[in-house]
């Protein structure tokens, strides 16, 4: 295991895309401390900001308030990062495999355009969670994101595949322009959810305000949702029994796009 403890809080944005378990796996403690990080517009050594303990491992533990530290674990291909504190922007963006666990909040664009692996955020997430960068054709494409707190606007926008589950509330335009994939929101689902969605599934447990281009289909018990909820339970989400066995109102849309997307709203009655 490698431990990185923040010793100097950066006063400018610190871009630390070298903090990746797959980069650390073959390196010694001294080599890791020399890896470059971008502080403002100057490259510094990782060791200038972090006390590094251990080497040659793909299990990373980060300690401290890393809200100013951007790009942790971006593009990582294997290994595990555990963060005891907050994480900055672009956490695990574009990651391909492996796992990131944050015992704190994550900044905007966490898991943006990821194509595999798992991110578990125990606090709140920012905007663009699992979403797409401006001008991109798609957001996350495979993988799983779990958030115990709330998430911001455009959660899972332009998602291609994968699963995003948020225990708290999400902001506006959740699942906007989704191509496929699943977004489950246990708190309140913000306005304009699923705007422009082609396919894919959004599951809500409180009645959201739906766009005029979503139509009510039926009330039924989607079988596959039980499997997804069971997966979430195994991941530590508390799932009530009636969510598994209960009925859901199905709305289809967005009729302005392909119209094959679906929004399930849990039917309490």
């Amino acid at each position: 295991m490698i431990r990185l403890a923040l010793k100097t809080r950066p006063d400018l944005p610190l871009e630390a895309d070298t903090i990746r378990p797959d980069y650390f796996a073959q390196k010694t403690e001294a080599e890791i401390a020399k890896l470059p990080v971008l502080h403002g517009n100057q490259f510094c050594a990782l060791g200038d900001f972090f006390n590094v303990r251990g080497g040659a491992s793909d299990q990373l533990v980060l300690e401290g308030d890393l809200a100013q530290v951007k790009r942790i674990g971006t593009g990582m291909e294997y290994g595990q990062i555990t963060i005891h504190g907050n994480a900055g922007m672009h956490l695990g963006a574009g990651m391909r495999a492996g796992e990131i666990v944050v015992f704190g909040d994550a900044g905007d664009w966490a898991g943006a355009e990821m194509c595999g692996g798992k991110i578990h955020i125990h606090g709140n997430a920012g905007h663009g969670l699992g979403g797409a960068y401006r001008g991109s054709r798609h957001g996350m494409n495979r993988g799983m994101i779990l958030v115990e707190g709330n998430a911001g606007n455009e959660t899972g926008s332009l998602m291609r595949r994968g699963l995003v589950a948020v225990r708290g509330d999400v902001g506006e335009f959740a699942g906007a322009f989704v191509i496929a994939g699943t977004l489950i929101v246990f708190g309140s689902l913000g306005r304009r959810a699923g705007a422009g969605m082609k396919r894919g599934t959004i599951v809500a447990y409180q009645q959201p305000e739906l766009l005029p281009t979503f139509t009510f289909d039926c009330v039924y018990q989607p079988l596959y949702l039980r499997l997804i909820l069971q997966t979430l339970q195994l991941e530590g989400f508390s799932i009530e029994e009636e969510w598994r066995t209960g009925a859901y109102r199905r709305y289809s849309g967005d009729l302005n796009a392909l119209g094959k997307g679906e929004i399930f709203v849990y039917d309490q009655h």
């Binding site: 517009n41 506006e172 306005r191 739906l210 005029p212 281009t213 302005n256």
Partner: protein, 428 residues
């Protein structure tokens, strides 16, 4: 002395039919200009009464101020350049080079006005046209979230409503004008159809309009909060589909209300859909004289229209991360250069707070909140009055602005050019 066909660079209309009368190096009359244009010419033709450069409030030689500014900027590790909407493309080009040399961020007023339009265009393209086409062809004009009578007073008479063109020989009689806004404004009286909508629900309306245009089902319940009925929207959708040449002018009511870039995305998608039935175009109602130009120059030089970062030596774009308000609000910027803009008076208080904490350098044509707050400030000559340069009209047509009066101040282009030269020397 008279100057014919001068160009007023106050707003994005860039009216090029102004006749200036000049007496003893002052503009005494600006014929054809609107009230805003006249005020602009009057204010900027006053004799200069401030020192050309100040450092810590003391008057100094321009060269000394350049040196002070260059040192402050090169010491910074996350500087941001901002503004540039009321200056020439030549000056903007130097600003981009300066941001690159400094390894900092560069952002323009676009990020607090029509930045969402830029983001929407990146996602969905821009089915647009020039104002000349509007004048000659458009028979349906829609202003959405805009009050041109007060913000762009000659927009309707020169280009969009009463102007007579080749296929619109009777001007106003050949056109149907629709206004969508949250309240009645001085522009309302020019409208044939006025839709008063509730604030913050433009996305729902545009989205429902798309569905109606495409002949899809619309759930009336989804319109309950919008303030307008399905019948009203159906009427508008029919107007749009049956016109010969329609234009949607998108104002800041769309870009700066809930939904932001998604509102513009919806508007662009609506216009795209309408082109299955007729010819339709969208033009953002750009505010400042050359704010369109700064998007053009930044895109030409970096590939992105605003919110660009050079920390890694190459341009990166991410609105929300590298944009002025966000960089200041998160207390990331450690030096700010403001050009032809007044961020201290126009940005949110949280962002302005950061301006008071870091070295601030201001270049402007007049005294402002920002120049008063700045550690180093320069007075520059106004482009279009006391300096020449290129500007882009709101429809992306470039026009060359000629100097009308002499100036004791250097131009933005000259100041930024010298600053760039000095920064490059210090960095070397």
């Amino acid at each position: 002395m008279q100057i014919e066909a001068a160009i007023c660079a106050f707003c994005g209309c860039l009216c090029d039919d102004i006749v200036l009368t000049i007496e003893s190096d002052r503009i005494v009359q600006a014929k054809n200009a609107c009230a805003l244009g006249k005020a602009w010419y009057t204010a900027h033709s006053r004799p200069p009464d401030l020192p050309a450069a100040r450092v810590d409030g003391k008057s100094v030689e321009v060269e000394e101020a350049i040196e002070a500014a260059a040192i402050l900027l090169t010491k910074a590790r996350y500087p941001i350049l901002y503004g540039l909407s009321s200056t020439s493309c030549e000056a903007q080009r130097h600003a981009v080079a300066l941001a690159e040399a400094l390894g900092g961020c560069i952002d323009c007023c676009t990020s607090v006005c029509h930045g969402p339009s830029g983001m929407a265009v990146q996602g969905f393209g821009e089915p647009t046209c020039t104002l000349g086409e509007v004048k000659n062809r458009a028979d349906l004009v829609i202003y959405w979230g805009s009050n041109p009578a007060e913000s762009h007073p000659r927009h309707m008479s020169r280009y969009a409503v009463t102007s007579k063109g080749r296929l619109t020989p009777n001007g106003r009689k050949n056109r149907t004008v629709v206004l969508v806004d949250v309240r009645s404004t001085p522009s309302s009286r020019f409208a044939d159809l006025l839709l008063t909508v509730r604030p913050g629900i433009d996305f729902e309306i545009l989205w429902a309009l798309r569905a109606l245009v495409l002949g899809r089902k619309v759930e009336p319940a989804g319109l309950a909060e919008t303030g307008i009925t399905l019948a009203q929207l159906t009427h508008l959708a029919e107007l749009m589909k049956n016109c010969r040449y329609g234009v949607l002018f998108a104002g800041q009511g769309l870009t700066q209300s809930a939904g932001n870039q998604m509102n513009l995305s919806a508007a662009i998608l609506l216009v795209r859909d309408l082109n299955q039935f007729t010819k339709f175009a969208i033009i953002p109602m750009r505010g400042h004289g050359n704010v369109t130009g700064v998007d053009q120059v930044l895109t030409w030089q970096t590939g992105y229209p605003f919110g660009v970062n050079f920390s890694r030596g190459y341009p990166r774009f991410n609105p929300g991360e590298f944009t002025m308000v966000d960089v200041l609000r998160r207390k990331e910027a450690d030096a700010v250069l403001s050009v032809a803009s007044d961020p201290a008076a126009s940005l949110p208080a949280e962002a302005v707070q950061r301006l008071t904490e870091v070295p601030l350098i201001a270049i402007d044509t007049h005294e402002s909140e920002t120049t008063r707050l700045a550690r180093v400030s320069f007075m520059a000559s106004t482009v279009g009055i006391r300096a020449s340069g290129t500007a882009y009209r709101m429809d992306n047509v470039p026009l060359f602005l000629k100097q009308a009066l002499t100036s004791i101040y250097p131009s933005d282009e000259e100041i930024l050019g010298r600053l760039l030269e000095r920064v490059r020397e210090l960095k070397a």
